[in-house]
């Protein structure tokens, strides 16, 4: 498979997923994928920086400074959302897989998981925001 055809396939797939009028379940799944990618990106970064400690602690220290920049700390909020959503939605899907009889309540299950996500996310977001503001002063 050539690079061009891989890109073309990815484009077709993304448009299809984006334009198909699926229900709430499809949107929950798209978000699951996106947040999964978010967590993966952070993990990859983390593996690279830890690797740098062994390589040269100076470089690692320089990098941690970057992590503490206010902009990067806003990224923490995104990371928190990604982790929380991915975990809660994952637990929802596992539950539905183990209890197929609950299929009737899939819409409700998504609504409940969104509430759980918000309950976990909003306080953590406020804490991070608070810390960022304090550090700016």
């Amino acid at each position: 498979m050539s690079v061009a055809s891989v890109i073309e396939n990815a484009k077709v797939y993304a448009t299809r997923t984006w334009t198909y009028e699926g229900g709430l379940g499809q949107r929950a799944w798209i978000l699951h994928r996106l947040t999964g990618l978010g967590v993966f990106t952070f993990l990859a970064l983390h593996i690279i920086d830890i690797f740098l400690v062994g390589f040269d602690p100076q470089v690692f220290n320089a990098l941690t400074v970057i992590y503490h920049l206010p902009v990067m700390r806003l990224g923490h909020i995104v990371l928190f959302y990604c982790v929380i959503y991915h975990a809660v939605n994952g637990a929802r899907i596992i539950t539905l897989d183990f209890f197929p009889k609950l299929w009737r309540y899939q819409k409700e299950s998504i609504q409940i998981s969104m509430i759980v996500v918000m309950v976990l996310f909003i306080p953590s977001m406020l804490v991070i925001l608070y810390e960022i503001i304090i550090s700016l002063e």
Binding site: R16, G22, G25, I93, L96, D97, P100, W103
Partner: protein, 235 residues
Amino acid sequence: MEKSKVTLKIKRFNPEVDKTPHWENYAIEVEPTDRILDGLNYIKWYQDGTLSFRRSCAHGICGSDAMRINGRNRLACKVLFKEMGATISVEPIAGLPVLKDLIVDMELFMEHYRAVLPYLINDDPPPPTERYQSPADRARFDDTTKCILCACCTTSCPSFWAKEDYLGPAAIVQAHRFIFDSRDQAADKRLEILSDSDGVWRCRTIFNCTDACPRNIEVTRAIGEVKQEMLFRKM
């Protein structure tokens, strides 16, 4: 009943001249209780004879007129204009190669269907009367007997779009119909086929299939039951 004007926006593709598909608009007058299929027929018979689509029974039984109507998979013969608005988009179901206009090549879909051995397997000699089945045993798989192989579910599934080797919801529904049939003896064989990486585990519990099924089969539930059976059978 009063007629109203609607626009059917149809995705056209003629492999002999077109490189890529394009949209074409058709203005027609319909009654609110006309079906999308009536609109397509009208266009074919009176406006543009080159428009191609499959249909046969026109009563939601043969499954040949599955298409993507207003973004979602449906049977054109089971959807009324009054449910769809004044401008309606019609395109072929996604994930299977388009042959012409709204007609797709169903071979891959049928291949997946055949892969799950969708027929009764029982090596015991037939009894003099019948293979008895209690009403309760029959009820166990009643829902999945309703499948008409229209492909609405499989072609609404993002997992199938991502990997066409995935057997897809329709094949799993058909497998379910025999796995839970008390007269059948090949459940193990089917479960083995479905435990492949392109089998049941590629399902991400997205529910597009359940939403798309024109027969209201609880598709995701059936898939879930097969997953469960696979996990707990040997325990």
